[in-house]
Symmetry: C2
Subunit: 516 residues, 2 copies
C-alpha cells in the first residue's frame, strides 16, 4: 500500500477516529487513502483556523487526539493561532502537514515555505518524514508524542513523495508515557503549609478541574480553610450543581492581586505562579504576593487527581464534606439585554451535561457568575488569548460529544476571525447553539486603552476599537453558511430564542445585541 | 514624546500614509499615537489575513509600502499566508508587530509566542526593538529595508515597554538602495542568443511587466522572432488595448512544457527558470527543455526596464514597432453562466484603468483570455499560491488607487478564507466589484486528484473537495458585512449585474453561480 494509506491505518489503529482537514494538492494521496480506510471521519473546514480550533475542542472533550491535515506552510500558518490556544490548553493533537515532494523543495516553487519553523512555535514534537517505509511508524510516534503528559501538538510534516511512496502496512501503536505521581515530599510540604492556619490559596488548572479532583480540593478547603482558585483561563472546568465551585482568578492584574492579598501560602496544582496577562507601565507582572511562599504540588505533567487525593489524605480530610454548588435556576430576565441577562437565562436554561465554550471576553464574568449554580456542565476557556477560538472549539467539542448540547458564548469581534466554523456545524449537523454578544466594539481594547492611561481617546483611536461601522448582521452571516439564526434585542427575546435553540437539535445562532 | 509616537512620525516622514491594522492590548500606545499624528490613515481589518493582504495590494499598486500593525505571535500568524503571497510578489511592506513588554516576556503569559521565528518565514528583514530611544530609527531602517530591491517585508517587533518609553522625536528618512543596472555582458549574451535564429523565449515577471518595459520586449520579439511569456503568477501585469500582450506560462506542468517545447534559448527577466507548481509522481519539476540554454538577463533586484531597453538597443530594435493589442469588446454573452461568459462580459465592460485581482483559480484562464484585448488595465495574480489573497489585495489596491475601479475575480472556496475583507470595503467605501465564481467545490483539487492518478474518487474523497453541502449564500454573507450583493445564474444576469456594479461607485458583490 502507499505510505499515506499506511499512515491513515496506523492512526486508526491508535484510536484516532476524526481528522479535521483543509487539504491541498500535496495531500491528495492522504485524501484518497481516507476513502479506502474505514474508521476515520473526515471533517472539512473552510479555513485552517477552524480545523486547528476544532481539534482543540475535540481533544479537550474526548481526551484523545484528533488528527488535523493542513496544506504546506501557509495552510499551517492559518491554523497557528488556534494551535497556540491548544498548546496552552495542553490538548493532544496529531497535526499532519503536507509539504512539497522532497525532490521539489529545491526549486523554491511559489508555495515553498519553512513548514517546520512555523510548526515549531506551537508543537511539543515536530518530525519531517523522509522515507515512505517509515511513515507509518512516524505516525505512531506522533500519536505517542501528542499523548505524552501533559499533552501537546505533535506535528508530522509529510512531503508529497513520501506520502505516495510505498510502505509495508500500518505500524503498531506505541506505548504512551503515564503521568508521573507527585513526590511524597511535595504532598507533605503542601500539607504543612495548609495546616499552618496562615492564609492559603490552592491555585489549580488542567486535569485538577474535573469533578473528582475538585471534590478532593473541596475537602482540603473544608478541612484547612484554604481558598480555592483556578486559573483565569482553563482548558476545561467541571462546574454547576453538585460540583465544588472554584472561582477563576480575575483577569485584570489589580483584581487578581486583590484576590490574593495577604495570602502566605500558594499551593499550585497544574498551574504556574500567577502572572498578569499583559504588562502595564509601572505595574508588576508577577502576581504572587510579597512574602507568600509557593508550594508546587503538581506540575502540568503530573497526576493532579492523585496529588489532590494524596494531599486530602495527608490532611486527614478524606471524610470532610466538600461544599457543593446547589442548583439555582434564576427567573427569566426582563428588560435590557445585557451580558448579565444572558447569564441569568443561561443559568435557568442550561441543560445537564452541556458544554459551554466561552469567548465572550468582556462579557465572560457576567456569564460565569450565575451559571456556577446551573445544571452540571463543562466550561471551556480561551486558553491562549488568541481570539477566534470559540466557534471552532465548539465545533470540535460537538464532534467529540454527540449526546451533549454545546453552547458557544462568543464576542462579535472574536467571532469574525473564524466564523467559517458555522458552515462546518451546518454540514455536520452539530448540536451547537452560538450566542453572539454583539456590543459592536473590541470592548476589551477600549478598557485596555483606558488602563494604559488614555482616558479620552480621539476619534481615530476610537475608530480602531469600534466595529459598529458598518454593523455586522450575524443573522445573515449565519444563514449564508446554512445555520438558522435570530436576533435578540431584549432580555425576553434572548430568553425565548435561547430556550428554543437549547430545546431543538442542530446548529443555531442568536445575535444578542448587547446594551451597556 | 513616547517612542510609539516617534515611530509613527518617522513612518509618515518616510512617506508611509496608510496603516492596515488589527491591534491588541500591546499596541495601545501605537493606537493612541495615531490619534496625535496627522498624515497616517488607519484602516481596520476584522482579521489579520485581511490586513496583510491589503498591504500587499496597496504596495503592488502604490509602489511604496503600507504599514501593518498586528498583535503578538498569534496575530502575526493569522497574517502569514498573505504575507507569504506578498513575499513572492516582492511587495514592500513595513510590518509592525506588537510584543509583550520586555520585562513581561520571561513570565510566559498566555499570549507569549516566538514572534521573530514566525516573522522570519516571510520577511526580508526582521528586527526586535530593544530601546525606546532607538525605536524611531528602527522604523526608518524598516522602511529602507522594505524598499531595498527587489522589495520585501520588513518586520519590526515592538515590545510594549519599548513603545511606551521615551524617544526624542522622529528619525530622518534613510536613503533607499537603487536597483542595480544589469551588466553589459548579460545584455550581449542575451542578444547573441536572440540573434541566433534558434527558437527563443523571453520569460518575464516583476517590474518587466509594466507598459514601457513590455513595449521594449515587444520590439525585441518583433526584431528577433522570440516569443514572450510571463510567469503564471505575477504581482502586476499591464495589459489590454495598446499594450504588448504577453501570455502567462500555463499552470499545469504538461501544458507549460508543451509551450516551451523545442526552445533553445530562454532569456530570463526578473524570473527564475520555470518550475512546476507542484510535483507529481514520475514527472520532472524543472520545466526548462533539455538542451535549452538559460540567459539570466536581469535578476529580481535589477532594473528590468533598463535591461529590456538595453537589449532592444543592442539588437538595433529601437524603432521596431511592437505588436500591440487592439481593443475588442465582445457582444454580451447569452445562456449558461460559465467562466468564459464572465470573461466575455468583463472584456466588454471593463473600464479603462481598472485593476483586476484574479483568484479565480480554475476559472482564471477563461477570464484572462478575452480580457487581453479589453480596455487597458492592470492584472494582479495569486503570487504565492496561499489562497484567500484576492479580496484583501483588492481592498488594498482600492485604497492605493481611489480613482480606479477594482474588480476582484474570486473562487468561492478561496473567498471563504478572508471574506472579512468585505467589511473593510464597506467601512472605507472602497470602489471594488467582487465577482464570486461559485462552482461550489475546490475544483482545482478535483483536477489535481485526477492528475495524481485517482480518476474515480470515492465518496469521502469527493466530500472533502466539494463545498456544496451546504451551499454558501454569498449574497447574505456580503450583506451581513454591509456590501450590496446580487446573485447571477445566467450569462444575461451576470452581464447586467456587472454593468451596474461597474457603473456605480462603492463595493458590490455578484455571486455568479457557475455551470460546468
Amino acid at each position: 500500500m502507499n505510505a499515506a494509506e499506511g499512515l491513515v491505518r496506523t492512526l486508526v489503529g491508535a484510536g484516532i477516529e476524526v481528522c479535521f482537514t483543509n487539504p491541498g494538492t500535496s495531500e491528495m494521496h492522504f485524501v484518497a487513502a481516507l476513502d479506502r480506510v474505514a474508521g476515520m471521519r473526515s471533517i472539512l473546514g473552510l479555513f485552517e483556523g477552524v480545523v486547528s480550533g476544532a481539534a482543540d475542542g475535540y481533544g479537550r472533550m474526548a481526551e484523545r487526539p484528533a488528527a488535523t491535515l493542513l496544506h504546506l506552510g501557509p495552510g499551517l500558518a492559518n491554523g497557528i493561532a488556534n494551535f497556540h490556544n491548544a498548546k496552552k490548553a495542553r490538548t493532544p493533537i496529531v497535526s499532519l502537514v503536507g509539504n512539497h515532494a522532497l525532490s521539489h523543495l529545491r526549486f523554491d516553487a511559489p508555495l515553498s515555505a519553512d513548514v517546520e519553523a512555523i510548526a515549531r512555535s506551537v508543537s511539543a514534537w515536530v518530525r519531517s518524514a523522509r522515507d515512505p517505509a517509515e511513515l507509518p511508524s512516524d505516525g505512531a510516534a506522533a500519536v505517542a508524542a501528542a499523548l505524552a503528559p501533559p499533552g501537546g501538538i505533535a506535528t508530522l510534516v509529510v512531503p508529497a513523495d513520501v506520502a505516495w511512496g510505498e510502505a509495508e502496512g500500518p505500524a503498531p501503536e506505541l506505548p504512551v508515557r503515564k503521568r508521573e505521581t507527585v513526590a511524597t515530599d511535595s504532598v507533605r510540604d503542601a500539607a504543612r503549609a495548609l495546616r499552618s492556619g496562615e492564609p492559603a490559596v490552592v491555585l489549580m488548572t488542567g486535569a485538577a478541574l474535573r469533578e473528582r479532583p475538585l471534590a478532593a480540593a473541596g475537602r482540603i478547603a473544608r478541612a484547612t480553610g484554604a481558598r480555592l482558585f483556578c486559573n483565569t483561563f482553563n482548558a476545561r472546568l467541571s462546574r454547576g450543581a453538585g460540583r465544588v465551585a472554584v472561582p477563576t482568578l480575575p483577569y485584570f492584574a489589580e483584581a487578581a492581586s486583590e484576590a490574593l492579598r495577604g495570602v502566605l501560602h500558594l499551593v499550585l496544582v497544574g498551574a504556574g505562579p500567577p502572572v498578569a496577562f499583559f504588562a502595564y507601565p509601572g505595574r508588576p507582572s508577577a502576581l504572587t504576593p510579597e512574602g507568600c511562599s509557593v508550594h508546587a504540588l503538581a506540575s502540568p505533567a503530573q497526576d493532579a487527581e492523585a496529588a489532590l487525593e494524596a494531599l486530602q489524605d495527608e490532611l486527614g480530610a478524606r471524610s470532610a464534606p466538600p461544599e457543593l454548588a446547589e442548583l439555582r435556576r434564576p427567573d427569566a430576565p426582563h428588560g435590557a439585554l445585557t451580558a448579565g441577562a444572558i447569564g441569568a437565562s443561561l443559568a435557568a436554561l442550561l441543560p445537564e451535561g452541556a458544554i459551554v465554550v466561552d469567548e465572550a471576553i468582556t462579557g465572560s464574568p457576567a456569564l460565569q457568575g450565575p451559571t456556577a449554580t446551573a445544571a452540571p456542565h463543562d466550561w471551556l476557556f480561551l486558553t491562549g488569548g488568541a481570539i477566534g477560538q470559540g466557534l471552532p472549539v465548539a465545533t470540535g467539542a460537538a464532534v467529540a460529544c454527540p449526546g451533549r448540547k454545546v453552547v458557544c458564548l462568543e464576542g462579535d469581534g472574536s467571532a469574525m476571525y473564524t466564523l467559517q466554523s458555522l458552515w462546518t456545524q451546518a454540514r455536520e449537523g452539530l448540536d451547537v447553539t452560538t450566542v453572539i454578544l454583539a456590543n459592536r466594539s473590541y470592548a476589551i481594547l477600549q478598557v485596555e486603552l483606558a488602563r494604559m492611561g488614555f482616558r479620552d481617546p480621539g476619534p481615530r483611536a476610537r475608530d480602531m476599537l469600534g466595529i459598529a461601522r458598518p454593523a455586522l448582521d450575524f443573522v445573515r452571516l449565519a444563514e449564508g453558511m446554512g445555520v438558522r439564526a435570530r436576533r435578540a434585542t431584549s432580555a425576553e427575546d434572548l430568553h425565548r430564542e435561547l430556550a428554543t435553540a437549547l430545546a431543538l437539535p442542530g446548529p443555531r445562532l442568536i445575535e444578542a445585541v448587547i446594551q451597556g
